[in-house]
């Protein structure tokens, strides 16, 4: 557990929660990232602008943190390129088919006590843990 970082995790989580709450309180929108990004690809009229600005915001926030951190070792990718392609397709397709991801179902949905989101969250956490188990300890 040498990588365990509970304090920065908690602080980051509080920030994620605050962003989610503000977007809903002010704009009436749920901060589900797969929905926000996917909505840019299939926009309804006048609906793409705020989505793009939210994504620009994510990049901006990440930029500030990268600069502060000096840019080293923030991201470590251990997966081969062909697997990344397949995984990316699955994540993109799956989150759209399932109407949400870790943010939409995991944060917003659980907080609304949505039955669909509770079920989806249990499924994707369970399947992801099983996948990692198979890849790292069985195959």
């Amino acid at each position: 557990m040498e990588d365990f970082t509970p304090i920065s995790g908690l602080v980051g989580g509080l920030l994620l929660g605050s962003a989610t709450v503000l977007l809903l309180w002010l704009n009436g929108r749920l901060a589900g990232i797969s929905g926000i990004v996917g909505g840019i690809l299939t926009p309804k009229s006048g609906d793409a602008g705020w989505r793009m600005l939210f994504v620009v915001g994510i990049l901006l926030g990440s930029f500030v943190c990268t600069m502060v951190a000096g840019g080293r070792d923030l991201v470590q990718v251990q997966t081969s390129i062909p697997v990344l392609v397949g995984a990316g397709l699955l994540v993109g397709f799956g989150t759209r088919l399932g109407s949400g991801c870790t943010s939409g179902h995991g944060l917003c949905g659980l907080s609304r006590l949505s039955r669909r989101s509770v079920a989806a969250t249990l499924v994707f956490f369970g399947v992801a843990m099983l996948t990692v188990f198979l890849v790292r300890h069985v195959l």
Binding site: N27, G35, G61, A87, V91, A119, M129, R136
Partner: protein, 162 residues
Amino acid sequence: MMKMLVALFTGTLFGVGLSVSGMVNPAKILGFLDVAGDWDPTLVFVMGGALLVTGPVIPVILRQPRPLLAVKFDLPTRKTLDTRLLGGAALFGVGWGLSGFCPGPAVAALVPALIGGLPAVFVFTGSMVAGMFLHGRLTGRPARNAPRRTPAAPPASSEAHT
């Protein structure tokens, strides 16, 4: 105009949260998902910290008649557990477990990847967007977690009422 600024600001806050929490790093996510290995429970604290805010506050917000800057709350309307929901979540789970990336971090990680020269992140995020696009093309409808007035749910989906 104000709504646009809110979107930019909350997006920025979200991006900072993803970075500070370490969730932009897929190695860290995989460390959490690997319960049988050298387990890193950080994600519990990230989700916990976020739910500490959203859990009590979102129900209060939703009891308001409307959001501060918009006409109405834009919420999902579907209630039933159907195969699309569970199948989609399962496909996402496989991809998440293989890569350690979910959509938010996959966007945020583009910046350190660009600065640090990590093309692998662009491969993942590009594939993810392609997968979303593919879904839009195959279904011919903008499926989303945002609300739909007339859900195009297949008749079979009404069977699950647990």
